[in-house]
């Protein structure tokens, strides 16, 4: 399940709903990862663009591979502006086994950072400034540039 919201996430409500949705599913481990906007570099917050068609495919591929390990993933992300100390991202894994859950939340969050088609901007003095210094080129980038690749 992938959920996108305009603005900050209601973290307690999401964590509660997801827990209750799977309360009878016989999972032994539930690990949410909650990402919150830090107050740093003088920003007022962050802002996000999302390209949904590819995000959905990326997520569905992950869900299929979780499913092979009897696990399930849920994810929520913000679109647009999220102020400091608000949360923009929750990823969660449910699994019968704790090792699977611990390994999967790590691999999922890291691949999310490297591959999910979401762009981040600092909010500074009411302007959106692309966070190029914190962004990662998706694997296989540069094919249109020509020359040695």
């Amino acid at each position: 399940m992938l959920e996108l919201y305009d603005g900050a996430l209601d973290v307690p409500a999401l964590l509660k709903r997801w827990y209750e949705e799977e309360a009878q599913s016989n999972y032994g481990a539930y690990i949410p990862f909650v990402g919150t906007v830090r107050d740093e570099n003088g920003i007022d917050g962050l802002s996000f663009d999302i390209y949904e068609p590819i995000l959905i495919r990326w997520f569905d591929d992950w869900q299929a591979s979780a499913s092979e390990r009897e696990a399930k993933l849920k994810m929520a992300h913000s679109r647009g502006d999220v102020l400091t100390h608000e949360s923009s991202y929750i990823a969660a894994v449910f699994s019968p086994k704790r090792r699977v859950a611990l390994e999967m939340i790590d691999a999922f969050v890291e691949d999310f950072k490297a591959s999910a088609p979401i762009w981040k901007y600092d909010l500074i003095d009411g302007k959106r400034v692309y966070a190029d210094d914190r962004s990662t080129a998706i694997s296989g980038s540069g094919i249109l540039a020509g020359g040695a690749q």
């Binding site: 762009w119 962004s135 990662t136 998706i138 094919i143 540039a145 020509g146």
Partner: protein, 73 residues
């Protein structure tokens, strides 16, 4: 005609062009100096599937998307 979309921070309106392959799209886009840095670090999707080479053939109505470096979370 194929449609070229520039995602996220590239901030450029979509364009349409005649092209039978990604190699032809590349040749056209390389002529735009503004796009040069983005071509270096963007991934490419055809009809919302990421591709890893220029050999992909294109047909009328296809959508090519440029995905610059990402940072969700």
């Amino acid at each position: 005609m194929v449609r070229i979309e520039f995602l996220g921070p590239i901030q450029k309106p979509a364009i349409e062009m005649e092209a039978a392959s990604l190699a032809e799209v590349a040749k056209t886009l390389q002529q735009d100096p503004e796009l040069k840095p983005w071509l270096d670090n963007s991934a490419v999707a055809v009809n919302d599937t990421l591709v890893s080479g220029l050999e992909t053939p294109l047909k009328d109505g296809d959508k090519v998307s440029l995905l610059p470096p990402v940072c969700g979370g």
